[in-house]
């Protein structure tokens, strides 16, 4: 009975939380049309979210591609399928590894920063000051982050995937001795626009999730420094979990539209 009540309470809280996120999303879309877009803030956020995340994303993509290529090569080598490493790495990077790992890194780097910044503004009454000056906090704080993420995330995912494929290519052809021509031919033969579209769509969805989860945590931060710390931690944890869970459903759905060849 106690367990059932606890599970019921958790479920209600989760549905309530999802409702809050949906309301934030609706208000953000409304803000784009009613509150106006502040281009200088969008540019500033593109710099923070996109430009400054590049190094992290490139390193993540590069080493993931290299490790994945190495593991794949050692397994495929036993079956004399060395040149299949290219397409396996490429399709995996496009369909799964690129968007998911990029999403997780951005959730850690950008989500935490967003949540901490908005949380600090909340507990120091800066958000109330915005409201008192007749500026809607969602228009001023969430809309620029949302638009910047929509622009930045596909580019970051593309960089992550590109770096992963390049690192895998270099390692497989220059270190492990697989023929470059066969590697590239097989990779290009088995990778197509559908894989690219899937990667980019996932990237955009994860970016939107990161923005709404982080901004929601920040805007609802309470109890001073402890509250801001908690909001930041929860933004990263919840954002990362959402990415992994949504990725599963997104994979199932997108495979209907973009089936593997």
């Amino acid at each position: 009975m106690v367990v059932a009540r606890y599970v019921g309470h958790l479920l209600c809280s989760f549905i309530h939380y999802l409702g809050d996120l949906c309301l934030l999303a609706v208000e953000t879309i409304r803000g784009i049309f009613h509150g106006g877009v502040r281009p200088h803030l969008v540019l500033q956020q593109i710099y923070e979210i996109g430009f400054r995340s590049q190094l992290v994303v490139l390193i993540t993509g590069g080493f993931t591609g290299a490790v994945f290529a190495t593991q794949t090569y050692f397994q495929f080598h036993l079956l004399q399928m060395d040149t299949a490493v290219g397409p396996v790495v490429s399709v995996s990077m496009f369909r799964e590894l690129g968007p998911v790992l990029c999403g997780l890194m951005v959730a850690g780097r950008v989500g935490a920063a967003m949540s901490a910044e908005l949380g600090t503004m909340k507990v120091t009454e800066q958000i109330d000051a915005l409201r008192a000056l007749a500026v809607h906090p969602i228009d001023y704080l969430v809309v620029p982050r949302f638009l910047a993420m929509l622009i930045s995330m596909p580019l970051l995912v593309a960089e992550c995937i590109g770096m992963g494929i390049f690192a895998a290519y270099l390692l497989t052809t220059q270190v492990l001795g697989v023929s470059s021509a066969y590697y590239l031919h097989n990779m290009l033969y088995f990778t197509d626009g559908q894989d690219v579209a899937m990667g980019l769509i996932k990237g955009i969805v994860f970016g939107v999730l990161i923005v709404f989860v982080s901004c929601h945590q920040g805007l609802n931060a309470r109890e001073g420094a402890v509250g801001v710390g908690r909001a930041t931690t929860e933004a990263v944890v919840v954002g990362s979990l959402f990415i992994l869970i949504v990725n599963f459903f997104l994979t199932m759905t997108l495979n209907i539209f973009f089936p593997a060849r």
């Binding site: 800066q126 409201r131 000056l133 007749a134 809607h136």
Partner: protein, 254 residues
């Protein structure tokens, strides 16, 4: 509460009820503020004065009761519907609430830019003028972290005043300031009232400041308006609760 039929009511609050953390803070608080006057709201710490002030600008919604600002009911308005009401008002928060990512100039210019002013020369002129008014000329490049508490409060005051609001709300404007700066803030509040006809509501514990600036005084006690009157009526009151507050007596034994 005394009526002033010859004056227009700028703010009418009726039977305001609010609870925080399960504790009833306001228990049917009613108050009228007339156009162009300065009303000082007194009360014990934690008594709900700041909470009341936040209701007047729509930062909090009451559990029940009505708030009428410039003839418009605001208690049930949504965030976006409150914007026109807020454009006519300004609030000075207790700790200033300056935007810590902006310097003094950008903080003060913020309301101007948000209301569509794009001419930087006009913005700069207005910022210079208002900073001069609060005695902070030349502080434009400083960040809020590099300002003293008093300076921060005066920058926040400049930010609230730069758009020339019809009604100003001050949350403890002189708390934590040295007596000279506190006096200059009092003079500024008085000057705004006389020259621009700004309606002011000042939450304070500072009795000297109260007697300097107030046209009317209200005392918030146990969630209700316990006293409303002029400074002379406050001074003349023999009510023990009012006397304790005016004279700063705690009845604790040393």
């Amino acid at each position: 509460m005394a009526e002033h039929p010859q004056l227009n009511e700028a703010i009418v609050v009726d039977n305001l009820v609010q609870s925080l953390g399960g504790q009833e803070i306001l228990r049917g608080f009613s108050l009228k503020v007339y156009q162009g006057e300065t009303l000082v709201l007194l009360g014990r710490s934690g008594g709900g004065k700041s909470v009341f002030l936040r209701h007047l600008i729509g930062l909090m919604a009451p559990l029940s009761g009505s708030i009428c600002v410039a003839g418009q009911q605001i208690a049930n308005l949504k965030e976006r519907e409150l914007a026109p009401v807020r454009r006519g008002m300004g609030i000075l928060f207790q700790n200033g609430a300056l935007f810590d990512s902006m310097n003094v100039e950008d903080n003060v210019a913020f309301p101007l830019r948000e209301r569509g002013e794009t001419d930087e020369s006009i913005i700069s002129k207005k910022v210079d003028d208002i900073l001069q008014m609060v005695d902070l000329s030349g502080q434009q490049p400083k960040m809020p972290a590099n300002l003293s508490g008093g300076m921060r409060k005066r920058v926040a005051l400049a930010r609230a005043l730069v758009n020339e609001p019809r009604c100003m709300l001050y949350d403890e404007p002189t708390a934590g300031l040295d007596p000279i700066v506190a006096d200059s803030i009092d003079i500024l509040i008085r000057r705004l009232q006389r020259q621009l006809g700004v309606t002011s509501i000042v939450v304070t514990h500072d009795m000297k400041s109260t007697f300097t600036i107030a046209d009317h005084v209200a005392l918030l006690h146990q969630g209700r308006c316990y006293f409303y009157g002029t400074c002379d009526q406050l001074r003349a009151s023999t009510d023990p609760i009012i006397r304790d507050f005016v004279e700063g007596r705690s009845h604790d034994t040393p």
